[in-house]
Symmetry: C2
């Protein structure tokens, strides 16, 4: 029967997806200490037993959830039309760091920094998501990484986006963020496109 699925398999896949999405929502809204498997099962409208059938441990559930939502987000981004200009590309990248997925991931990273049993899994997950985000950034910006310095320029932009996400944690930082995005998009445009000012020629110290 190959790829054809039974109604039971479909239901199981749907339950799994509901649990993963609920896990990210709970993590973003209540943090690590407020997010247990029971809380997520209730949010998803699934029995605790069914949740544990899919995800034997709390760590399984939350690392799978952040990875699943990151993959869904990448797929959605790939379906978008190419951005019209550098500003739109930078705004899209920064937007990746201001939604519930970033909040959820932030809670998971911070919990992992103090909980050794989470550390290795979350570090590996962070590396995978980081590589994929960098790949998306290069594509959205149309950046040519064969030019020296361009890779670090893009990395610094993603660090800035991560910092803007953190600045948005406690207060709505949208107005300031938009001004920073506009300014940094202008800087990046000149760095990534103007060959008269190559990114690979740092000048002597002031």
């Amino acid at each position: 029967m190959g790829a054809v699925t039974t109604p039971k398999q479909d239901r199981s896949r749907l339950t799994r997806a509901r649990l993963l999405e609920s896990a990210v929502t709970c993590l973003a809204e209540r943090g690590w200490s407020g997010s247990t498997v029971s809380v997520v099962a209730e949010h998803a409208g699934v029995s605790r037993g069914a949740a544990q059938h899919h995800f034997p441990t709390r760590e399984d559930l939350f690392t799978a959830a952040v990875e699943y939502v990151a993959e869904e987000r990448s797929a959605a981004l790939r379906r978008l039309p190419r951005p019209a200009d550098t500003h739109e590309a930078v705004a899209t990248l920064v937007g990746l760091f201001t939604g519930p997925l970033f909040r959820a991931a932030l809670h998971l990273w911070v919990a992992a920094s103090n909980e050794p049993h989470l550390g290795d899994r979350v570090t590996a997950l962070e590396a995978r998501i980081g590589r994929e985000t960098h790949r998306m950034a290069v594509e959205l910006l149309g950046a040519d990484e064969s030019r020296p310095g361009v890779r670090e320029t893009v990395q610094g932009l993603l660090d800035m986006a991560r910092g803007l996400g953190l600045a948005n944690l406690l207060t709505d930082d949208a107005a300031r963020r938009e001004r920073v995005v506009t300014q940094w998009a202008a800087i990046l445009r000149s760095q990534l496109t103007d060959s008269s000012q190559p990114a690979d020629s740092p000048q002597p110290a002031d």
Copy 2:
């Protein structure tokens, strides 16, 4: 007697400082959930009663601690000689976000995002520290904020520094960070000093 203090006042001030420094260390190493007043008192070698005399609540202790250490850090920075070049200025600023104070502040911000009784105090504290850090950045970079765009350039740099701090949470990111700092210091040098390429003239969309 004016500013002259008694030995008892000196001891009290010393106890307070020890508690504040221990609170930041505990928060950085164990996170919010692992940092109680008792844990901090033990780390500081102070009785729990003495700790509660100085700081009636857990929130009092940790918000005061992050503020105290941030002020100590600002004072230390003011005593440093002026940086030799933009690279040194950027490296110093980024260094503010990779030590124990940043880790402690991160745990406090993240806890505050899910605990309403902490939220307002931490938001006000974050705003004060943010203003002071911006002021230091302008001074270290010798940036002229009367030029349009310079303020947002400096803000974006501090967002980048915050993002680099977050990237350092789970793994030692020093080698990558140094490459990003070198590249962005070169970009910023041209942005902040080259009047032939004013920061205030974003070009038309690509």
